[in-house]
């Protein structure tokens, strides 16, 4: 199933005009500042908001001129920023509300309960749940619909770090089976979840593509952020048990990451490298405490803010960002094509 839409609508002062196509699976993060129209777009896709234009989902027509498939007939699951549990029902009642209306079975319910680990909460009143518990129940309820598309509107914005990671893990796992559109303005969530990203600004999708490409694009909004971060794909290498370091091979270079024990798995892994954790030098320093020093080629440079520049670097077929001062850029003679060494102070998996 794939989603394609071309929509326009007016909400208050904000004019929304968007068109995009959604990949068949995985998480697509709809990213942008508050007020850019992300939630409105999601509500339009759900059929909760008036709009003009066309929405197609696979071979189903959801919206066109003079026709709007009502929300209750769209095969969707949805989460809002607040859990919005039905307050007159207990946890089990909330799941049953959807189960009965979507024709799901008791077995489906048991599976969803297991997936979201809410077994101990089933008999609880929704008023006694913590924020993290409530959002897990809200996720379970969204899954009860047996959705062909999940629309998640900043579902984790009110949660602390621990609960956020737990739910992000669940959502990632679910996204292997169901396409997810995930609204957020949190870069960390984008980095954790996303293969695809739509960047939204002032009611328009200004860029869309693979997350790691959009993150590194100098002319895009992400590379200009103070917390700009590059995503690199690599493969797990050897584990040094004496120094507790895990090797990850990226484009024939080896990155060493601190790890208490060997990282298991054979799938490609993702490395996050924040632009401000990368510094540049002309020669490879021989007596540095930094483990990860790699030869790179400068692909481009952009001034961001007073006295600051962000540099895009090529490492094999992948891109890295470095945030340095404008003076360093001048004195190091950073220009496209220059061969330099990148010193990477911190690397994270995920």
């Amino acid at each position: 199933m794939s989603l394609a839409f071309s929509l326009a609508g007016q909400v208050g002062q904000c004019r929304l005009q968007v068109q995009a196509q959604l990949a068949a699976s995985g998480v697509t993060v709809l990213f942008g500042p508050s007020g850019s129209g992300k939630s409105t777009l999601l509500r339009m896709l759900a059929g909760l908001q008036e709009c003009e234009g066309e929405i197609r989902f696979g071979d189903q027509l959801w919206h066109t001129e003079g026709f709007r498939l009502p929300p209750w007939e769209r095969p969707l699951g949805m989460m809002f920023q607040a859990p919005t549990l039905f307050r007159h029902l207990d946890v089990r009642g909330n799941l049953d509300y959807v189960r009965k209306r979507r024709g799901a079975s008791e077995e489906d319910l048991a599976r969803v309960v297991g997936q979201t680990r809410i077994e101990p909460l089933l008999a609880r009143s929704v008023e006694t749940l913590s924020g993290g518990e409530a959002q897990r129940v809200a996720l379970a309820r969204a899954l009860m619909a047996g959705p062909e598309l999940l629309l998640l509107d900043e579902p984790l914005s009110a949660l602390d770090h621990g609960h956020k990671q737990e739910l992000l893990g669940m959502i990632s796992a679910i996204a292997t089976q169901v396409p997810v559109i995930y609204v957020t303005h949190d870069l960390d969530e984008l980095l954790t979840l996303s293969r695809q990203v739509w960047l939204m600004e002032q009611g328009r999708i200004v860029a869309s593509g693979k997350a790691h490409e959009e993150l590194a694009r100098l002319d895009g909004p992400l590379a200009q952020r103070g917390d700009a971060t590059a995503l690199l794909y690599g493969e797990l290498g050897a584990y040094d048990s004496r120094d507790h370091l895990q090797a990850v091979n990226v484009a024939r270079q080896t990155f060493w990451l601190p790890a208490a024990r060997q990282v298991a798995g054979d799938a490609p892994v993702r490395l996050r490298i924040a632009a401000r954790d990368v510094s540049l030098c002309r020669q490879a320093p021989e007596d540095s405490s930094i483990l990860n020093i790699h030869p790179v080629q400068v692909a481009g440079l952009r001034e961001v803010g007073p006295g600051q520049a962000v540099v895009q670097l090529v490492l094999g077929d992948q891109r890295l960002l470095a945030r340095i001062s404008s003076r360093s850029a001048r004195e190091l003679e950073v220009f496209p094509g220059a061969q330099l060494y990148a010193q990477v102070k911190a690397v994270a998996l995920g």
Partner: protein, 229 residues
């Protein structure tokens, strides 16, 4: 209590019957009306709400006077009676019900309207994307979440109809078993100087009213445990 006369018991029974019939009809009529007033913004709404709230401020005798004219054989309501046996709706139980409907309407409408207005739009949106159609949403979500409003509306409707005096005096007359309600019976005892019977009837009405309101407030307290996130 056993000293309350048969005639007064009959008057109490008429009062209770009137209160129950009136409140039942009002709950049905006010449900869509309150929903519409609480959730929509349409031109002319303020004027309509003012008219519906009029019984709150108008002296009941004024209302009763217009009803007397309206429901009498020569009034616009008189044509209703051409199919019935009665010549006039005034001085009949049906007439009392019509009068009470108008008189008690704001007491049923207002709590329902407040309850409906308090339901978050997000809850309705979530129900919609959960597969619930509008009518389904109304019965599966709105009514359960507005149950306190319904309890308040029912108790206030009954209590206020029981306490009705001015309107029934104008349009009811005092036909035993038909239109003589408890409050009118009490008035007649006082007029006749029969303070002993007046005391008994007034006592019964007082106890009934306190019990009803006590039950309402107790129930509301029990419902109010915890605050939703």
């Amino acid at each position: 209590m056993t000293m309350v006369s048969d005639g007064d018991w009959l008057a109490l029974w008429v009062s209770i019957k009137l209160a129950l019939v009136t409140t039942a009809i009002l709950l049905l009529v006010c449900t869509p009306l309150a929903w519409w007033l609480a959730r929509r913004r349409l031109p002319g709404q303020a004027l309509l709400e003012a008219l519906l709230a009029l019984p709150l401020v108008l002296p009941p005798s004024v209302l009763g006077f217009y009803l007397l004219i309206g429901l009498g054989p020569n009034g616009p309501g008189g044509w209703l009676t051409q199919w019935g046996e009665a010549r006039s709706l005034a001085f009949s139980f049906t007439g009392l019900v019509i009068g009470s409907l108008i008189y008690s309407l704001p007491f049923v409408l207002q709590p329902l309207k407040n309850a409906f207005a308090a339901i978050e739009t997000r809850q309705l949106d979530m129900a919609a994307v959960s597969g619930a159609r509008p009518l389904d949403r109304f019965f599966s979500l709105v009514i359960p979440q507005a149950r306190q409003g319904y309890a308040s509306a029912a108790i206030l409707g009954i209590a206020h109809t029981l306490g009705e005096f001015g309107v029934v005096l104008m349009i009811g007359g005092s036909l035993a078993g038909e239109t003589r309600v408890a409050s009118v019976a009490l008035y007649e005892h006082v007029e006749a100087g029969d303070y002993a019977n007046a005391h008994r009837l007034a006592g019964v009405l007082l106890v009934m009213s306190v019990m009803m309101l006590w039950a309402l407030f107790r129930w509301q307290r029990k419902q109010n445990v915890g605050v939703m996130p």
